[in-house]
Assembly symmetry: C2
Homo-oligomer: 319 residues x 2
């Protein structure tokens, strides 16, 4: 099979051995996959991952139990044991023995075929296109913000960093009716927000007043948290979505002095994301900057690093 592999260097492998499903797995033929900030951090050394990259995808089951065969699916990324104390406590996403698709101990989906536990799969309704479905995983991560943190019409919220994830988080927050501002650097992305009716402010024009109830940090840089601390009100919440490859110099005194709640937030609920796409409650199509064929892996990753682009997709197989 064809695959995009990282083993210290990023490369396209035209003839990698086919993914082999275990007893509890399905084999999925990947249609479309998305490049995420985590992929960009991984090729900088994050998680010390080696193998097939990729964790955002849509595809069709080609082998596995009969009830799954030929189903068009998306796939939750954490593969869990269901036996450890985290799994038994209902926190399976934090399974002690988990592997994570293309991130930790398990080959990912930037390949013709990917083997995934059947229990990780979710069937897609026809109304959702492949181009939309490939956003289910990051959109679920955006819904995790409202799952962890009460946000309603009274909330004065702000999203820092209108990138791939930030633009999804912004749309999810906007759907709650909260007062929302997006703060960023790139004029193109700020314009994207405004087109969606979301107030956008360039960071250079920002006057931090420590008046936001909730700040969602999606910049992917250590400086983002420093800005968030200037924006959040005393006793407010900063939701931290960014994992940075490199540690930054941080003075957390404002967290203590203003008794801020800093909340780490990772993967989220697939059903909410699927429902939102089916209802067309969130627009993801306008976030697609370019789609590359799988054999143009290096070009695709380069495009994903260009701050003018939002989402870069990999076209792997036809639907």
């Amino acid at each position: 099979m064809r695959a995009i592999v990282f083993d210290g260097a990023l490369r396209f492998e035209p003839n990698r051995t086919d993914a082999k499903p275990g007893d509890e797995d399905c084999l999925v033929r990947v249609h479309l996959a998305g490049i995420c900030a985590t992929d960009l951090h991984i090729i900088q050394g994050y998680m010390s991952f080696t193998g097939v990259l990729g964790h955002e995808m849509v595809g069709r089951v080609v082998s596995g139990p009969p009830e799954w065969r030929d189903r068009r699916v998306v796939c939750e990324i954490s593969c869990v044991c269901r036996e450890c104390e985290m799994c038994l406590a209902g926190l399976a996403n934090h399974c002690r023995k988990r592997t994570v698709l293309g991130i930790d101990g398990r080959d990912g989906c930037f390949a013709d075929l990917v083997a995934v536990p059947k229990r990780n799969l979710q069937v897609l309704p026809d109304v959702i296109s492949d181009e939309e479905a490939v956003f289910v995983e990051p959109l679920a991560a955006a819904y995790q913000v409202v799952a962890q943190c009460a946000i309603d019409g009274r909330t004065n919220a702000c999203v820092l960093g209108p990138g791939r994830l930030g633009l999804l988080v912004a749309q999810v927050l906007a759907s709650t009716g909260c007062r929302l501002t997006v703060i960023g650097r790139n004029p193109k992305k700020l314009l994207l927000c405004e087109k969606k009716g979301i107030q956008a402010i360039h960071i250079d024009e920002l006057v931090p007043r420590q008046d936001r109830d909730v700040v969602v940090e999606c910049t992917g840089s250590p400086e983002g948290l420093n800005t968030a601390m200037q924006l959040v009100r005393p006793r407010g919440t900063i939701v931290l979505k960014s994992t940075c490859a490199k540690p930054g110099s941080l003075n957390l005194a404002p967290i203590v002095i203003h008794e801020v709640n800093l909340l780490g937030s990772r993967c989220g609920p697939f059903p909410e994301a699927i429902n939102a796409l089916a209802r067309q409650a969130v627009d993801v199509r306008s976030l697609i900057s370019r789609t590359f064929p799988i054999d143009q892996a290096l070009e695709a990753f380069e495009a994903a690093q260009n701050p003018d682009n939002v989402k870069i997709l990999l076209k792997i197989n036809p639907r």
Copy 2:
């Protein structure tokens, strides 16, 4: 009046102009005062404070409204406007215009006399001695942990750093019946915990298993948070009590990956602290390492920096 002043250097001033109370203030003659980690950070430049140091004290009102005169009192440290949106929202401790006794914009209590808003005062019952009452402010800060964070018999909790504040937090947590460990470096302080029936572990013997529901970080050093991230379970809570004078290099990826709740925590409720001392629910006397007269300011601060000592008090006037 005599006072301990910081203006870039720490010094004892034998003839400073007497503190002058405003219209809403009482003048308090200070009996006993405590040196806190914040005082040690301030003389390293934290908060850019200059003036009379000190915010932990017990004394007697010598002038002010008749109903306050001659009362033996402790004093909340944040002096607030009662008009800004924080005050009106019930978050007066986070008043936008606040001054803070000996920390921010207002002279403190390491002096014969201190002027404080009458509404900041709380009368002490006779059953609490001066030596106990001087612990009300830091003990209230310890109670803030249980005010912010649900802790009960099922909670697997841990306190990092059995110093001045950590030993108070540990006793408050122990009183909830939770499973508790204190982790530290100094054998004397670990022994103090064990004498109180609290399990204590030397940090070199620690095997971090990411299994604590709640970790209270009281070390006062940036490394403390790194240790806390190794101890807290996924979706657990780190309560951050330490303000560090210098920023540290931090990788907050574990906060995101394990969806940890990092909760800043500052001042706390005086009534709980006063009640606990009246009931003798918390032992503070054994934490007093030495008491210095006010004119031995430099010696007292030096002793407060010695990791073998817990609490250093300043004797200013007789009861």
